[in-house]
């Protein structure tokens, strides 16, 4: 065999799930000290390929060479000792255990009696946390961390294996600018040490910032591998979705009408204080801020999921009493939550049930039973209108791609005929193609006269879509800005970090 | 002087007949000014031992015990001996087969021989059908591992094995329960049809369940059914001619008898270690005597 020049070679990998061909002969080469980006639509097979590599799934066929040796039939534990570690797309903390036990799970340090050495574990954890500049006691339970910090722990863990190759599957989806930059710092340091990194992300801007090479996937096959400086963003998108995309943020100006929702001095016991804003008919109202700023909580409180301690919510000029999501829905609100898995989809239920759950009142027959045929008809309308890709209405939603799941949830809320639609991170973890479609949908809704409140951590998205923007910092509103062409990401960041405060 | 204090440990109150015995013991205690406490072991040997320990640490003067398991009474006998208090077993005999002098000091038994109930049923069956009859029979067994269930079944077989014409078709445990007696009998009717001539049940509840099944299949008149205990429902059923026989255990004799012996021992009287209270076969002929 000729002298190896790549750390990793994956040759002609195929992977079949019952009924699904997820990988159809994929090749991937990663050199030493290279940051190799992997991009592709939702369901293209990126995570599957990586799970094969880390030994979670056996490959159906194909060869893997790592550090010059052919490796086969190995477990995750073996992959980890071989020098491959991975940050997984789905955050998976053991919630009620301390940080340090999460870090060393599967390789707990032992003392000479063969028992777990807690002191040693603590010391090692301190060191690792220091390395990523996370200032937390290693004995803190994971459950007490914010999502972003949990993700940082995951990153720390992946690094602590001292691996030759670190796979990062959408490590930044739960991070905002600040942590993201920290992550990039770490990646550059690792690269200097000769560590190779596979970096998966739907945020193409990141790819240009950090990657050396990029491989594009479509439909279980690779479309091409290029050095990053040989490509433009548009080229990558074209490779990904197989066609050119017109406009990422298809914002059409629409007539903005009277005020529909008015929030006055809303406060929560713990998460936020004194929030006031109003949203008008046909308006897209963006809420920006760092992770943990309390944006989600504001919306949850308005929608009735959390109790407020003071403040008023006015709808159409009338004071509204909202104490539960039921009240929220009765007041013609809809809420696309940020955590699709935890509070969005009914994983094992069909697409139809997922759409229809809040809407059965519309489909009752004369004797008060649910008219399944009407449900099917109603759901089909939305499937067509917003182009949900599903083999049938009965398909369990967990088998759809992330973007399509998100569209199903959109359909759910649109069917309730809301006046006010809250969208919390509507495009998190969604590929560019699907993203653009969702933006199109949002714009269309606004032009139909709905008011849209959109929380997002992606500033380009906020800037590209909103009419007005509220910025929050640590539970306070720091800015209420008109979106105009001279508003920049930097300005918003100043408000988000509390450097600038208008209130 | 202080009132005399007696602890009564029941094996299982979910067994109707045990509540009858306990009722008589309690009535006797009330009538004689005894400080009476009782407990229910729920058919759990270990729990019974625990409860008896509680009685002893509460300072009872005597113990009356219906054993959950007759073979597991050694620790309890020892506990009583250590506490130097008399121990009277009732209803279930831990000393079956022992001679009077082999029984530990200060320990007594009042009750019947469980096997007799089975023997009485079988003998009555032979009397009704004749020694040379060709007849298939089935046994509804009580809760697995109850001494009474084992012994009564044993008694049935002991007698009927002597007659070659009598054939044991099946035996199955119905956990003393009426609904199980019914379901099992329904299936036996399917399995054996006309072959089935008699059902001997370890207790009345299961016998009554069997009768329901036979009546529903309209073949009650072709099958003899017997139980044990003579509970109220069984009395009625015998009078109505639905149940062919039951075997009476003398609940009063046992409940009162156990307490009486404890009192006699405490009074310093000399008492035989074993007091047998015989079973009585109850049939339509003599049911009138048991009103």
């Amino acid at each position: 065999m000729e002298k190896e020049k790549d750390l990793l070679q994956m040759v002609n990998i195929e992977k079949n799930f019952p009924g699904v061909k997820a990988l159809k002969g994929v090749n991937l080469n990663v050199g030493y000290g290279e940051v190799h980006a992997l991009v592709g639509e939702n369901g293209a097979g990126k995570s599957t390929l990586m799970k094969c590599l880390i030994g979670l799934y056996p490959v159906s066929s194909g060869d893997i060479y790592f550090a010059g040796k052919k490796i086969e039939h190995y477990s995750t534990a073996q992959a980890l000792t071989m020098g491959i570690s991975m940050i997984h797309q789905e955050l998976s903390p053991v919630l009620y255990r301390p940080i340090m036990e999460n870090l060393w799970l599967g390789r707990e340090p032992l003392n000479r009696f063969g028992l777990v050495d807690h002191q040693e574990m603590y010391n090692k954890s301190l060191r690792v946390l220091q390395e990523i500049e996370l200032d937390e006691d290693p004995r803190t339970l994971m459950v007490n961390l914010t999502v972003a910090k949990m993700q940082m722990v995951e990153i720390a863990k992946a690094i602590s294996y001292d691996a030759k190759l670190i796979i990062m599957d959408e490590p930044s989806s739960a991070l905002t600018e600040h942590e993201e930059q920290q992550l990039f710092k770490i990646i550059r340091k690792l690269k200097k040490q000769g560590t190779s990194i596979i970096y998966i992300s739907h945020r193409l801007a990141e790819i240009f910032e950090i990657a050396d090479k990029v491989t594009v996937f479509r439909d279980g096959k690779n479309v091409g591998t290029e050095a990053i400086d040989q490509l433009t963003m548009d080229q990558i998108i074209t490779m990904m979705i197989g066609r050119t995309m017109d406009e990422m943020y298809p914002k059409i100006p629409c007539t903005i009408g009277e005020t529909i929702l008015e929030v006055k001095n809303l406060s929560h016991k713990k998460y936020f204080h004194n929030i006031s804003f109003e949203v008008r008919k046909g308006e897209i109202f963006g809420i920006a801020g760092l992770v943990g700023a309390g944006r989600t909580e504001v919306i949850e409180t308005i929608f009735g999921m959390r109790p407020k301690i003071s403040g008023e919510i006015w709808i159409n000029g009338k004071l509204a009493e909202i104490n539960s999501p039921m009240d929220g829905i009765a007041n013609k609100m809809g809420f696309l939550t940020e955590d699709r898995r935890a509070t969005g989809i009914f994983a094992v239920l069909g697409v139809d049930s997922n759409i229809a759950i809040p809407n059965y009142d519309q489909f009752l027959s004369k004797i008060g039973l649910v008219d399944d045929r009407a449900v099917t008809k109603g759901c089909n309308e939305f499937v067509e209108k917003i182009q949900i890709k599903t083999p049938s209405l009965k398909q369990a939603i967990q088998n759809l791609s992330g973007g399509n799941q998100q569209k199903v949830l959109m359909a759910r809320w649109l069917m309730t005929g809301p006046d006010i639609l809250f969208l919390d991170e509507p495009t998190r973890g969604i590929d560019v193609g699907a993203k653009a479609e969702i933006y199109k949908l949002i714009t269309m809704l606004a032009s139909e006269g709905k008011c849209i409140v959109m929380v997002s951590s992606e500033l380009p998205e906020i800037l590209g879509m909103s009419d007005r923007i509220m910025v929050m910092h640590e539970g306070k509103m720091t800015g209420l800005l008109e979106n105009s062409s001279d508003l920049t990401q930097d300005t918003i960041m100043r408000y988000a970090t509390g450097t600038q405060d208008d209130f | 002087a202080d009132k005399i204090k007696i602890g009564y440990s029941c094996n299982n109150f979910n067994d109707t007949f045990q509540t009858v015995i306990e009722g008589y013991a309690r009535a006797y205690a009330e009538a004689n000014g005894i400080d009476y406490s009782y407990s229910d072991a729920g058919e759990d040997v270990i729990k019974q031992q625990d409860q008896i320990k509680v009685f002893i640490s509460e300072g009872v003067d005597a113990l009356v015990v219906v054993p959950v398991d007759t073979s597991a009474m050694d620790p309890i006998i020892k506990l009583a001996a250590e506490a130097k208090i008399p121990l009277v077993f009732v209803n279930r005999n831990p000393f079956a087969g022992l001679k009077a002098e082999e029984i530990p000091a200060n320990t007594y038994y009042v009750g019947s021989e469980s096997i007799d109930a089975g023997i009485f049923q079988a003998e009555y069956l032979v009397k009704k059908l004749g020694e040379d009859a060709k007849a298939g029979y089935a046994i509804l067994v009580g809760m697995l591992s109850n001494e009474a269930a084992v012994a009564r079944t044993e008694g049935n077989k002991q007698v009927l094995n002597k007659y070659p014409g009598y054939k044991l078709l099946a035996e199955k445990n119905g956990d003393w329960q009426r609904d199980q007696g019914m379901s099992i009998t329904e299936n036996w009717i399917t399995a054996f049809g006309d072959e089935l001539k008699a059902i001997l049940a370890n207790n009345d509840e299961m016998a009554l369940g069997a009768i329901e099944a036979l009546e529903a299949a309209k073949i009650k008149d072709k099958v003899i059914v017997m139980g044990v205990d003579l509970i109220d429902d069984a009395k009625v059923a015998i009078k109505e001619g639905r149940l062919d026989a039951s075997v009476l255990q003398d609940g009063k004799g046992q409940g009162e008898g156990g307490m009486k012996i404890a009192m006699q021992v405490l009074a310093g009287e000399k008492v035989d270690p074993i007091t047998m209270i015989p079973y009585v076969l109850v049939t339509p002929e003599n049911i009138a005597d048991f009103e």
Binding site: V348 | T19, Q177, E205, E212, I231, D233, V236
Partner: protein, 327 residues
């Protein structure tokens, strides 16, 4: 190739039905008496009581719950219903001076008691948030205790003849317990598949947080899920009282496990959100055919227990394969 896949698919989808059919065919060949109409009605009658419990249990398990108290609730309903349905000739009467009541009174009483006990379960689970396992474990001993206290441990018997009709009468040649069972199947099927309550029950079992966000009143649904289970126990109590023409406080102990086993054999998933009424029926039939068959074959009781355990495990393993691709 394609064809074979399709066969395999049908087999995995309806695996348990095949198991049932194989059992029936095997039994019929070994013992011709198994095949008689009478025995078939027998099998159906025998599974009616726990079959009805399994229907309610399906709703409970679909909501991601469990109910260990159904056997005890059944017993409590039965003794109370029976005590209100005694004939005037009864030797030990519960309500000494009460006239004979029409059959509807004990029936309603049984249903009501069942509903109340179920509502207590549901209330505890919905409003205190304790696990269903614990709430219903507590209620299991509580209801059993009340059944014994109510009866002082003695059976309640000599009931009015209408009770006998419920247990042993026939409608168009079909035994009444089977008629009632069929009725409950239809009601539960409609409830679970054709009402808002049913759809929402699936949602609660599938993802309780998402259900809440979608405006489902989760507490109310849980309350009604267990109330319905309690009512099923009430119906089962009436059937069982009718069959015995009497009621015992020790009745139906362990039936909760039979009901759960039936439901699970029928493919209802304990992780919530998945389940069918037909599955519960097939599962109950599997157990019933097995018990009937083993008794007819004269298999020793101890051995029967072992076989039953093995069948439950194997049936569920077979059924798991069906869902494997989703996992």
């Amino acid at each position: 190739m394609k064809h074979q896949n399709r066969l395999q698919e049908i087999f995995t989808k309806y695996g348990i039905v095949f198991v049932l059919i194989v059992m029936i065919i095997a039994m019929s060949m070994i013992k011709p008496s198994f095949r008689t109409l009478n025995n078939i009605l027998n099998i159906l009658t025998q599974c009616s009581v726990y079959g009805i419990l399994a229907l309610g249990m399906t709703v409970v398990i679909v909501s991601k719950g469990i109910d260990l108290s159904v056997g005890s609730i059944l017993a409590l309903c039965a003794v109370i219903a029976a005590s209100l349905g005694q004939s005037s000739t009864a030797s030990t009467k519960y309500f000494a001076n009460m006239a004979e009541l029409p059959i509807i009174v004990p029936i309603l009483a049984g249903l009501l008691i069942g509903a109340i006990c179920g509502a207590i379960n549901g209330g505890l689970i919905a409003f205190t948030g304790i696990p269903a396992f614990i709430a219903t474990l507590g209620m299991m001993t509580i209801c059993r205790g009340f059944a014994y206290i109510y009866t002082s441990g003695k059976p309640v018997s000599t009931l009015i003849p209408s009770f006998e009709f419920i247990g042993q009468g026939r409608l168009l040649g079909i035994p009444m317990p089977v008629v009632i069972y069929l009725g409950m199947i239809i009601i539960t099927k409609i409830l679970l598949n054709n009402t808002r309550f049913g759809k929402r029950t699936f949602a609660v079992g599938g993802n309780i947080n998402a259900a809440e966000v979608s405006g489902v009143n989760v507490k109310k649904i849980l309350l009604w899920v267990y109330t319905y289970m309690g009512m099923c126990a009430g119906v089962a109590a009436i059937v069982s009282t009718g069959r015995m023409v009497s009621a015992q406080p020790g009745l139906a102990s362990g039936y909760e496990l039979t009901a759960i086993a039936s439901t699970t054999i029928g493919g209802t998933s304990q992780s919530g959100g998945i389940g069918t009424v037909w599955g519960a029926v097939v599962g109950a039939l599997v157990l019933s055919v097995m018990r009937n068959g083993m008794t007819i074959l004269g298999i020793q009781s101890y051995l029967q227990q072992i076989v039953e355990g093995v069948v439950i495990i194997v049936a569920v393993i077979l059924d798991m394969r069906k869902n494997a691709r989703k996992a």
